[in-house]
Amino acid sequence: MDGHDVILSIKNLKKTFPKDDGAMVAIENFNLDVKNGDFVCILGPSGCGKTTLLRMVAGLEPLTSGSMKVKGEDIEGPGSDRGMVFQEFGLFPWRNVKKNVEFGLELKGIPSEKRAEISQKYVELVGLKGFERSYPKELSGGMKQRVGIARALANDPAVLLMDEPFGALDAQTRNQMQMELLRIWKETKKTVLFVTHSVDEAVFLADRIVVMTSRPGTVKNLWNIDLPRPRDRASSEFIALRKNILDELEVQKTGA
Protein backbone atom coordinates (compact mmCIF):
# COMPACT_ATOMS: atom_id res chain seq x y z
CA MET A 1 0.00 0.00 0.00
CA ASP A 2 1.56 3.34 -0.94
CA GLY A 3 1.43 6.24 1.51
CA HIS A 4 -0.56 8.48 -0.80
CA ASP A 5 -3.60 6.25 -0.55
CA VAL A 6 -3.66 6.07 3.23
CA ILE A 7 -6.39 8.24 4.71
CA LEU A 8 -6.13 7.17 8.34
CA SER A 9 -2.83 6.23 9.90
CA ILE A 10 -2.41 5.02 13.48
CA LYS A 11 1.11 4.38 14.81
CA ASN A 12 2.29 2.99 18.17
CA LEU A 13 -0.90 4.15 19.76
CA LYS A 14 -1.19 3.87 23.53
CA LYS A 15 -4.13 4.80 25.73
CA THR A 16 -4.20 4.60 29.51
CA PHE A 17 -6.95 5.55 31.92
CA PRO A 18 -6.11 6.77 35.42
CA LYS A 19 -6.98 4.29 38.15
CA ASP A 20 -6.72 4.27 41.92
CA ASP A 21 -3.53 2.20 41.83
CA GLY A 22 -1.69 3.73 38.89
CA ALA A 23 -2.94 3.50 35.32
CA MET A 24 -5.04 1.02 33.38
CA VAL A 25 -3.62 0.35 29.91
CA ALA A 26 -6.57 0.13 27.53
CA ILE A 27 -4.71 0.11 24.20
CA GLU A 28 -1.03 -0.50 23.53
CA ASN A 29 1.21 -0.71 20.50
CA PHE A 30 -1.70 -0.36 18.09
CA ASN A 31 -0.85 0.16 14.41
CA LEU A 32 -3.25 0.49 11.52
CA ASP A 33 -3.34 2.12 8.09
CA VAL A 34 -6.70 2.55 6.39
CA LYS A 35 -6.81 3.21 2.65
CA ASN A 36 -9.18 5.63 1.01
CA GLY A 37 -12.50 3.92 0.31
CA ASP A 38 -11.75 0.92 2.53
CA PHE A 39 -14.41 -0.72 4.66
CA VAL A 40 -12.59 -1.79 7.82
CA CYS A 41 -14.23 -3.63 10.69
CA ILE A 42 -12.69 -3.68 14.13
CA LEU A 43 -13.57 -6.84 15.96
CA GLY A 44 -12.68 -7.86 19.45
CA PRO A 45 -13.86 -9.16 22.80
CA SER A 46 -15.76 -6.68 24.95
CA GLY A 47 -13.48 -4.43 26.95
CA CYS A 48 -10.69 -4.67 24.37
CA GLY A 49 -10.80 -0.93 23.75
CA LYS A 50 -12.40 -0.95 20.29
CA THR A 51 -14.93 1.73 21.18
CA THR A 52 -12.19 3.75 22.90
CA LEU A 53 -10.15 3.47 19.71
CA LEU A 54 -13.04 4.82 17.64
CA ARG A 55 -13.69 7.64 20.10
CA MET A 56 -10.01 8.58 19.85
CA VAL A 57 -10.21 8.73 16.06
CA ALA A 58 -13.32 10.89 16.49
CA GLY A 59 -11.31 13.16 18.79
CA LEU A 60 -13.63 12.57 21.76
CA GLU A 61 -10.80 10.95 23.78
CA PRO A 62 -7.19 12.16 23.84
CA LEU A 63 -4.43 9.66 23.09
CA THR A 64 -1.72 8.94 25.64
CA SER A 65 1.16 8.43 23.21
CA GLY A 66 1.79 7.50 19.60
CA SER A 67 0.20 9.19 16.62
CA MET A 68 -3.10 9.29 14.76
CA LYS A 69 -3.37 11.11 11.46
CA VAL A 70 -6.28 11.73 9.13
CA LYS A 71 -5.14 12.80 5.64
CA GLY A 72 -1.68 13.32 7.09
CA GLU A 73 -2.82 15.68 9.83
CA ASP A 74 -2.67 14.89 13.54
CA ILE A 75 -6.04 14.43 15.19
CA GLU A 76 -6.54 17.18 17.75
CA GLY A 77 -10.07 17.01 19.07
CA PRO A 78 -13.32 16.36 17.23
CA GLY A 79 -13.93 17.71 13.76
CA SER A 80 -16.44 17.41 10.96
CA ASP A 81 -13.86 15.64 8.74
CA ARG A 82 -14.71 12.53 10.76
CA GLY A 83 -18.42 11.66 10.95
CA MET A 84 -19.57 9.38 13.73
CA VAL A 85 -22.58 7.10 13.99
CA PHE A 86 -23.46 5.99 17.53
CA GLN A 87 -25.05 2.76 18.75
CA GLU A 88 -27.80 4.65 20.61
CA PHE A 89 -28.46 6.93 17.60
CA GLY A 90 -28.09 10.24 19.52
CA LEU A 91 -30.75 12.08 17.54
CA PHE A 92 -31.87 15.45 18.87
CA PRO A 93 -35.47 14.80 19.96
CA TRP A 94 -36.53 18.41 19.35
CA ARG A 95 -35.36 18.36 15.72
CA ASN A 96 -37.18 16.63 12.91
CA VAL A 97 -35.34 14.37 10.45
CA LYS A 98 -34.40 17.24 8.14
CA LYS A 99 -33.16 19.40 11.01
CA ASN A 100 -31.17 16.52 12.52
CA VAL A 101 -29.43 15.90 9.21
CA GLU A 102 -28.72 19.63 8.82
CA PHE A 103 -27.20 19.99 12.29
CA GLY A 104 -23.55 20.03 11.20
CA LEU A 105 -24.29 22.28 8.22
CA GLU A 106 -26.02 24.73 10.55
CA LEU A 107 -22.93 24.82 12.77
CA LYS A 108 -20.84 25.79 9.76
CA GLY A 109 -23.23 28.63 8.91
CA ILE A 110 -24.28 27.22 5.56
CA PRO A 111 -27.35 29.14 4.26
CA SER A 112 -30.68 27.40 4.62
CA GLU A 113 -31.32 26.81 0.91
CA LYS A 114 -27.99 25.06 0.48
CA ARG A 115 -28.63 23.13 3.69
CA ALA A 116 -32.00 21.95 2.45
CA GLU A 117 -30.44 20.79 -0.82
CA ILE A 118 -27.71 18.79 0.96
CA SER A 119 -30.01 17.30 3.60
CA GLN A 120 -32.53 16.26 0.95
CA LYS A 121 -29.80 14.42 -0.92
CA TYR A 122 -28.77 12.41 2.13
CA VAL A 123 -32.31 11.85 3.40
CA GLU A 124 -33.05 10.27 0.02
CA LEU A 125 -29.78 8.35 0.02
CA VAL A 126 -30.69 6.62 3.29
CA GLY A 127 -34.23 5.93 2.07
CA LEU A 128 -36.16 8.35 4.29
CA LYS A 129 -37.82 10.45 1.59
CA GLY A 130 -41.23 11.52 2.90
CA PHE A 131 -40.08 11.48 6.55
CA GLU A 132 -38.26 14.84 6.49
CA ARG A 133 -40.74 16.39 8.92
CA SER A 134 -40.99 13.41 11.27
CA TYR A 135 -39.57 13.63 14.76
CA PRO A 136 -37.27 10.92 16.19
CA LYS A 137 -39.95 9.57 18.53
CA GLU A 138 -42.09 8.78 15.47
CA LEU A 139 -39.37 6.61 13.89
CA SER A 140 -38.43 2.95 14.37
CA GLY A 141 -34.92 2.03 15.50
CA GLY A 142 -33.77 1.26 11.97
CA MET A 143 -35.12 4.57 10.68
CA LYS A 144 -33.43 6.42 13.53
CA GLN A 145 -30.10 4.96 12.56
CA ARG A 146 -30.72 5.90 8.93
CA VAL A 147 -31.02 9.49 10.18
CA GLY A 148 -27.81 9.00 12.17
CA ILE A 149 -26.00 7.87 9.02
CA ALA A 150 -27.43 10.70 6.91
CA ARG A 151 -26.42 13.22 9.56
CA ALA A 152 -22.84 11.90 9.67
CA LEU A 153 -22.58 11.91 5.86
CA ALA A 154 -24.06 15.40 5.42
CA ASN A 155 -20.75 16.90 6.60
CA ASP A 156 -19.02 15.00 3.78
CA PRO A 157 -16.40 13.53 6.17
CA ALA A 158 -13.18 11.85 5.03
CA VAL A 159 -13.87 8.91 7.33
CA LEU A 160 -17.15 7.50 8.59
CA LEU A 161 -16.81 6.09 12.10
CA MET A 162 -19.46 3.62 13.21
CA ASP A 163 -19.63 2.39 16.79
CA GLU A 164 -21.72 -0.81 16.82
CA PRO A 165 -24.34 1.15 14.88
CA PHE A 166 -26.75 -1.75 14.53
CA GLY A 167 -26.22 -3.15 18.02
CA ALA A 168 -29.51 -1.71 19.30
CA LEU A 169 -31.57 -3.18 16.44
CA ASP A 170 -33.37 -6.52 16.15
CA ALA A 171 -31.73 -9.23 14.03
CA GLN A 172 -33.90 -8.75 10.96
CA THR A 173 -33.55 -4.96 10.88
CA ARG A 174 -29.87 -5.41 11.52
CA ASN A 175 -29.36 -7.56 8.40
CA GLN A 176 -31.41 -5.14 6.35
CA MET A 177 -29.37 -2.18 7.60
CA GLN A 178 -26.12 -3.99 6.77
CA MET A 179 -27.22 -4.28 3.13
CA GLU A 180 -28.37 -0.66 3.14
CA LEU A 181 -25.01 0.43 4.53
CA LEU A 182 -23.15 -1.42 1.76
CA ARG A 183 -25.32 0.28 -0.83
CA ILE A 184 -24.68 3.71 0.75
CA TRP A 185 -20.97 2.94 1.00
CA LYS A 186 -20.85 2.07 -2.71
CA GLU A 187 -22.70 5.24 -3.67
CA THR A 188 -20.66 7.60 -1.50
CA LYS A 189 -17.28 5.77 -1.76
CA LYS A 190 -16.56 6.71 1.86
CA THR A 191 -13.86 5.19 4.03
CA VAL A 192 -15.60 3.33 6.85
CA LEU A 193 -14.21 2.30 10.23
CA PHE A 194 -16.82 0.03 11.79
CA VAL A 195 -16.65 -1.35 15.34
CA THR A 196 -18.58 -4.53 16.09
CA HIS A 197 -18.41 -7.58 18.30
CA SER A 198 -20.32 -9.68 15.76
CA VAL A 199 -18.06 -11.84 13.58
CA ASP A 200 -20.98 -12.44 11.23
CA GLU A 201 -21.50 -8.71 10.73
CA ALA A 202 -17.78 -8.09 10.15
CA VAL A 203 -17.45 -10.87 7.57
CA PHE A 204 -20.59 -9.67 5.79
CA LEU A 205 -19.45 -6.04 5.58
CA ALA A 206 -15.70 -5.63 5.61
CA ASP A 207 -12.87 -5.44 3.10
CA ARG A 208 -10.56 -5.94 6.03
CA ILE A 209 -11.13 -7.12 9.56
CA VAL A 210 -8.89 -6.03 12.42
CA VAL A 211 -9.07 -8.59 15.21
CA MET A 212 -8.04 -7.08 18.52
CA THR A 213 -6.67 -8.80 21.59
CA SER A 214 -8.28 -8.31 24.96
CA ARG A 215 -6.91 -5.63 27.26
CA PRO A 216 -4.54 -4.05 26.59
CA GLY A 217 -5.99 -3.94 23.09
CA THR A 218 -3.66 -4.36 20.18
CA VAL A 219 -3.90 -5.77 16.66
CA LYS A 220 -3.88 -9.55 16.87
CA ASN A 221 -4.53 -10.28 13.23
CA LEU A 222 -5.64 -8.64 10.01
CA TRP A 223 -8.01 -10.48 7.70
CA ASN A 224 -8.54 -9.53 4.08
CA ILE A 225 -12.03 -10.55 3.04
CA ASP A 226 -12.05 -11.11 -0.70
CA LEU A 227 -15.52 -12.64 -0.98
CA PRO A 228 -17.50 -10.93 -3.76
CA ARG A 229 -20.49 -8.81 -2.69
CA PRO A 230 -23.34 -9.33 -2.09
CA ARG A 231 -22.07 -11.99 0.24
CA ASP A 232 -24.03 -15.11 0.91
CA ARG A 233 -24.08 -15.99 4.58
CA ALA A 234 -24.90 -19.59 3.70
CA SER A 235 -21.93 -20.08 1.35
CA SER A 236 -19.20 -22.44 2.49
CA GLU A 237 -16.51 -19.73 2.13
CA PHE A 238 -18.47 -17.37 4.37
CA ILE A 239 -19.05 -20.05 6.98
CA ALA A 240 -15.43 -21.13 6.93
CA LEU A 241 -14.15 -17.57 7.33
CA ARG A 242 -16.56 -16.91 10.15
CA LYS A 243 -15.46 -20.09 11.91
CA ASN A 244 -11.76 -19.28 11.57
CA ILE A 245 -12.19 -15.78 12.97
CA LEU A 246 -14.45 -17.03 15.75
CA ASP A 247 -11.83 -19.61 16.68
CA GLU A 248 -9.24 -16.88 16.86
CA LEU A 249 -11.45 -14.90 19.25
CA GLU A 250 -12.25 -18.03 21.30
CA VAL A 251 -8.57 -18.76 21.84
CA GLN A 252 -8.26 -15.37 23.53
CA LYS A 253 -11.27 -15.84 25.71
CA THR A 254 -9.99 -19.12 27.15
CA GLY A 255 -6.64 -17.45 27.67
CA ALA A 256 -4.72 -20.13 25.77
Partner: protein, 274 residues
Amino acid sequence: MNYSSETKSGLRAYLARSDPLRIGLMVSSLPLFIAGWWLLSIYLQGQNFYYLPTPLEVWNALVASWEWDPVTHQPLLANINASLGRFALGFVIAIVIAVPLGLLIGYSYLIDAFSKPIIEVLRPVPPIAWVPFLLLSLGLFWGPVITIFIGVFFPVLSNVIFGVRSVDPLLIDVAKTQGASNRQVFTKVIFPFSIPFIMAGLKIGVGIGWMCIVAAELFAAQGGGVGVLITAGQTIGRYDIMFAGMVVVGLLGIVTLTVSEYLEKRVKIWMGMM
Protein backbone atom coordinates in the same frame (compact mmCIF):
# COMPACT_ATOMS: atom_id res chain seq x y z
CA MET B 1 -57.49 -0.83 27.02
CA ASN B 2 -58.07 0.33 23.49
CA TYR B 3 -55.17 2.28 22.06
CA SER B 4 -57.12 5.06 20.36
CA SER B 5 -58.67 6.26 23.59
CA GLU B 6 -55.16 6.86 24.92
CA THR B 7 -54.35 9.26 22.13
CA LYS B 8 -57.40 11.47 22.62
CA SER B 9 -56.67 14.53 24.62
CA GLY B 10 -58.26 16.56 27.34
CA LEU B 11 -61.57 16.20 29.10
CA ARG B 12 -63.19 14.10 26.38
CA ALA B 13 -60.59 11.37 26.71
CA TYR B 14 -60.86 11.58 30.48
CA LEU B 15 -64.61 11.11 30.32
CA ALA B 16 -64.34 8.44 27.62
CA ARG B 17 -62.36 6.11 29.83
CA SER B 18 -64.56 6.75 32.87
CA ASP B 19 -67.43 4.57 33.92
CA PRO B 20 -70.83 6.13 34.82
CA LEU B 21 -70.21 5.84 38.56
CA ARG B 22 -66.99 7.79 38.22
CA ILE B 23 -68.63 10.50 36.11
CA GLY B 24 -71.50 10.66 38.62
CA LEU B 25 -69.08 11.14 41.50
CA MET B 26 -67.17 13.81 39.60
CA VAL B 27 -70.27 15.79 38.68
CA SER B 28 -71.83 15.59 42.14
CA SER B 29 -68.80 16.36 44.31
CA LEU B 30 -68.80 20.15 44.03
CA PRO B 31 -72.57 20.59 44.57
CA LEU B 32 -72.29 18.30 47.61
CA PHE B 33 -69.40 20.35 48.94
CA ILE B 34 -71.37 23.58 48.54
CA ALA B 35 -74.43 22.01 50.17
CA GLY B 36 -72.27 20.90 53.12
CA TRP B 37 -70.80 24.38 53.43
CA TRP B 38 -74.32 25.83 53.35
CA LEU B 39 -75.64 23.54 56.08
CA LEU B 40 -72.58 24.15 58.25
CA SER B 41 -72.80 27.94 57.91
CA ILE B 42 -76.51 27.96 58.72
CA TYR B 43 -75.90 25.74 61.74
CA LEU B 44 -72.97 27.88 63.00
CA GLN B 45 -74.88 31.12 62.50
CA GLY B 46 -77.66 29.57 64.62
CA GLN B 47 -75.02 29.13 67.34
CA ASN B 48 -74.11 32.86 67.10
CA PHE B 49 -70.94 32.10 65.12
CA TYR B 50 -70.95 34.64 62.27
CA TYR B 51 -67.53 34.20 60.70
CA LEU B 52 -68.67 31.67 58.10
CA PRO B 53 -71.12 33.21 55.59
CA THR B 54 -73.44 31.04 53.46
CA PRO B 55 -72.53 30.42 49.80
CA LEU B 56 -75.38 32.69 48.76
CA GLU B 57 -74.07 35.55 50.93
CA VAL B 58 -70.61 35.12 49.37
CA TRP B 59 -72.10 35.07 45.89
CA ASN B 60 -74.04 38.26 46.63
CA ALA B 61 -70.90 39.91 47.97
CA LEU B 62 -69.10 38.90 44.78
CA VAL B 63 -71.80 40.38 42.58
CA ALA B 64 -71.94 43.57 44.64
CA SER B 65 -68.19 44.09 44.70
CA TRP B 66 -67.98 43.59 40.94
CA GLU B 67 -69.37 47.13 40.59
CA TRP B 68 -67.97 48.73 43.71
CA ASP B 69 -66.36 47.07 46.62
CA PRO B 70 -67.01 48.88 49.94
CA VAL B 71 -63.80 47.78 51.67
CA THR B 72 -61.22 48.73 49.02
CA HIS B 73 -63.41 51.41 47.45
CA GLN B 74 -62.94 50.22 43.89
CA PRO B 75 -64.44 47.68 41.47
CA LEU B 76 -63.38 44.03 41.80
CA LEU B 77 -61.64 44.13 38.41
CA ALA B 78 -59.33 46.88 39.68
CA ASN B 79 -58.31 44.60 42.57
CA ILE B 80 -57.77 41.68 40.20
CA ASN B 81 -55.72 43.85 37.84
CA ALA B 82 -53.60 45.11 40.71
CA SER B 83 -52.80 41.56 41.84
CA LEU B 84 -52.21 40.17 38.36
CA GLY B 85 -49.99 43.12 37.45
CA ARG B 86 -47.75 42.54 40.48
CA PHE B 87 -47.76 38.83 39.82
CA ALA B 88 -46.71 39.26 36.17
CA LEU B 89 -43.99 41.76 36.98
CA GLY B 90 -42.42 39.66 39.76
CA PHE B 91 -42.72 36.54 37.63
CA VAL B 92 -41.03 38.08 34.59
CA ILE B 93 -38.15 39.51 36.64
CA ALA B 94 -37.64 36.09 38.25
CA ILE B 95 -37.50 34.32 34.86
CA VAL B 96 -35.21 36.90 33.30
CA ILE B 97 -32.69 36.38 36.11
CA ALA B 98 -33.21 32.71 37.06
CA VAL B 99 -33.05 31.17 33.56
CA PRO B 100 -29.65 32.57 32.45
CA LEU B 101 -28.23 32.15 35.95
CA GLY B 102 -29.43 28.53 36.12
CA LEU B 103 -27.91 27.79 32.71
CA LEU B 104 -24.56 29.21 33.85
CA ILE B 105 -24.59 27.42 37.22
CA GLY B 106 -25.54 24.14 35.59
CA TYR B 107 -22.85 24.51 32.94
CA SER B 108 -19.91 25.81 34.96
CA TYR B 109 -18.84 24.05 38.14
CA LEU B 110 -16.85 27.14 39.16
CA ILE B 111 -19.92 29.39 39.08
CA ASP B 112 -21.77 26.61 40.90
CA ALA B 113 -19.07 26.43 43.58
CA PHE B 114 -19.31 30.17 44.22
CA SER B 115 -23.08 30.60 44.11
CA LYS B 116 -24.15 27.39 45.84
CA PRO B 117 -23.48 28.48 49.46
CA ILE B 118 -25.37 31.75 48.95
CA ILE B 119 -28.30 30.04 47.26
CA GLU B 120 -28.51 27.28 49.86
CA VAL B 121 -28.60 29.85 52.67
CA LEU B 122 -31.33 31.94 51.02
CA ARG B 123 -33.49 29.16 49.56
CA PRO B 124 -34.94 27.82 52.86
CA VAL B 125 -36.20 31.27 53.92
CA PRO B 126 -39.91 31.24 53.00
CA PRO B 127 -40.66 34.15 50.63
CA ILE B 128 -43.37 35.32 53.02
CA ALA B 129 -40.74 35.83 55.73
CA TRP B 130 -39.28 38.56 53.54
CA VAL B 131 -42.54 40.50 53.36
CA PRO B 132 -42.11 42.80 56.39
CA PHE B 133 -38.58 43.77 55.32
CA LEU B 134 -39.55 44.21 51.67
CA LEU B 135 -42.58 46.36 52.47
CA LEU B 136 -40.50 48.55 54.78
CA SER B 137 -37.58 48.94 52.41
CA LEU B 138 -39.22 48.87 48.96
CA GLY B 139 -42.65 50.22 49.70
CA LEU B 140 -46.17 49.10 48.92
CA PHE B 141 -45.65 48.50 45.19
CA TRP B 142 -42.22 46.89 44.82
CA GLY B 143 -42.45 45.07 48.17
CA PRO B 144 -45.13 42.60 46.99
CA VAL B 145 -43.53 42.38 43.53
CA ILE B 146 -40.17 41.33 44.95
CA THR B 147 -41.91 38.83 47.26
CA ILE B 148 -43.22 37.08 44.15
CA PHE B 149 -39.82 37.36 42.57
CA ILE B 150 -38.30 35.46 45.50
CA GLY B 151 -41.04 32.84 45.45
CA VAL B 152 -40.68 32.15 41.71
CA PHE B 153 -36.91 32.55 41.48
CA PHE B 154 -35.79 29.48 43.43
CA PRO B 155 -37.98 26.77 41.88
CA VAL B 156 -37.23 28.07 38.37
CA LEU B 157 -33.50 28.23 39.16
CA SER B 158 -33.44 24.67 40.55
CA ASN B 159 -35.27 23.32 37.51
CA VAL B 160 -32.99 25.04 35.03
CA ILE B 161 -29.88 23.75 36.81
CA PHE B 162 -31.39 20.26 36.91
CA GLY B 163 -32.24 20.52 33.19
CA VAL B 164 -28.69 21.46 32.22
CA ARG B 165 -27.27 18.62 34.33
CA SER B 166 -29.69 16.12 32.78
CA VAL B 167 -28.37 16.65 29.26
CA ASP B 168 -27.61 13.32 27.65
CA PRO B 169 -23.79 13.20 27.27
CA LEU B 170 -24.33 11.28 24.03
CA LEU B 171 -25.96 14.36 22.47
CA ILE B 172 -22.94 16.44 23.46
CA ASP B 173 -20.63 13.86 21.83
CA VAL B 174 -22.78 13.95 18.71
CA ALA B 175 -22.59 17.74 18.55
CA LYS B 176 -18.81 17.68 18.99
CA THR B 177 -18.28 15.11 16.23
CA GLN B 178 -20.44 17.33 14.04
CA GLY B 179 -17.92 20.11 14.62
CA ALA B 180 -19.66 22.12 17.36
CA SER B 181 -17.67 24.65 19.39
CA ASN B 182 -18.24 24.86 23.15
CA ARG B 183 -20.57 27.80 22.57
CA GLN B 184 -22.51 25.88 19.97
CA VAL B 185 -22.81 22.88 22.30
CA PHE B 186 -24.38 25.27 24.78
CA THR B 187 -26.78 27.04 22.40
CA LYS B 188 -27.68 24.07 20.17
CA VAL B 189 -27.81 21.22 22.69
CA ILE B 190 -27.80 22.25 26.34
CA PHE B 191 -30.23 25.15 26.02
CA PRO B 192 -32.89 23.37 23.90
CA PHE B 193 -32.56 20.29 26.09
CA SER B 194 -33.30 22.45 29.15
CA ILE B 195 -36.41 24.14 27.76
CA PRO B 196 -38.91 21.50 29.00
CA PHE B 197 -37.27 21.70 32.45
CA ILE B 198 -37.56 25.49 32.36
CA MET B 199 -41.25 25.17 31.53
CA ALA B 200 -41.77 22.74 34.42
CA GLY B 201 -40.04 25.27 36.70
CA LEU B 202 -42.36 28.02 35.48
CA LYS B 203 -45.38 25.87 36.30
CA ILE B 204 -44.18 25.33 39.87
CA GLY B 205 -43.32 29.05 40.04
CA VAL B 206 -46.87 30.03 39.09
CA GLY B 207 -48.31 28.14 42.06
CA ILE B 208 -45.80 29.53 44.54
CA GLY B 209 -45.91 33.04 43.07
CA TRP B 210 -49.65 33.16 43.45
CA MET B 211 -49.35 32.17 47.11
CA CYS B 212 -46.75 34.89 47.61
CA ILE B 213 -48.77 37.70 46.07
CA VAL B 214 -51.76 36.98 48.28
CA ALA B 215 -49.56 36.65 51.36
CA ALA B 216 -47.82 39.94 50.64
CA GLU B 217 -51.12 41.71 50.02
CA LEU B 218 -52.45 40.46 53.35
CA PHE B 219 -49.92 42.79 54.96
CA ALA B 220 -50.49 45.78 52.71
CA ALA B 221 -50.38 46.80 49.11
CA GLN B 222 -50.77 49.96 47.12
CA GLY B 223 -53.84 50.18 44.88
CA GLY B 224 -55.71 47.26 46.38
CA GLY B 225 -55.51 43.63 45.36
CA VAL B 226 -57.43 40.43 46.00
CA GLY B 227 -55.38 39.77 49.15
CA VAL B 228 -56.23 43.26 50.40
CA LEU B 229 -59.89 42.41 49.88
CA ILE B 230 -59.54 39.49 52.30
CA THR B 231 -57.83 41.40 55.11
CA ALA B 232 -59.96 44.51 54.70
CA GLY B 233 -63.11 42.36 54.80
CA GLN B 234 -61.90 40.83 58.03
CA THR B 235 -61.00 44.20 59.57
CA ILE B 236 -64.43 45.74 59.08
CA GLY B 237 -66.31 42.53 59.84
CA ARG B 238 -67.61 41.92 56.30
CA TYR B 239 -66.92 38.18 56.29
CA ASP B 240 -68.92 37.72 53.09
CA ILE B 241 -66.43 40.00 51.29
CA MET B 242 -63.52 38.21 52.99
CA PHE B 243 -64.79 34.91 51.54
CA ALA B 244 -65.51 36.52 48.17
CA GLY B 245 -61.82 37.49 48.10
CA MET B 246 -60.84 33.87 48.85
CA VAL B 247 -63.02 32.61 46.01
CA VAL B 248 -61.47 35.10 43.57
CA VAL B 249 -57.96 34.12 44.67
CA GLY B 250 -58.79 30.46 44.08
CA LEU B 251 -60.28 31.09 40.65
CA LEU B 252 -57.34 33.23 39.54
CA GLY B 253 -54.98 30.50 40.77
CA ILE B 254 -56.76 27.96 38.59
CA VAL B 255 -56.63 30.31 35.59
CA THR B 256 -52.91 31.09 35.91
CA LEU B 257 -52.04 27.43 36.46
CA THR B 258 -54.10 26.34 33.46
CA VAL B 259 -52.42 28.95 31.28
CA SER B 260 -48.96 27.77 32.36
CA GLU B 261 -49.86 24.12 31.77
CA TYR B 262 -51.16 25.01 28.33
CA LEU B 263 -47.95 26.90 27.52
CA GLU B 264 -45.83 23.98 28.72
CA LYS B 265 -47.77 21.64 26.44
CA ARG B 266 -47.54 23.99 23.45
CA VAL B 267 -43.77 24.27 23.88
CA LYS B 268 -43.42 20.49 24.02
CA ILE B 269 -45.50 20.06 20.88
CA TRP B 270 -43.55 22.83 19.17
CA MET B 271 -40.30 21.03 20.07
CA GLY B 272 -41.64 17.75 18.73
CA MET B 273 -41.59 16.11 22.15
CA MET B 274 -45.28 15.40 22.50
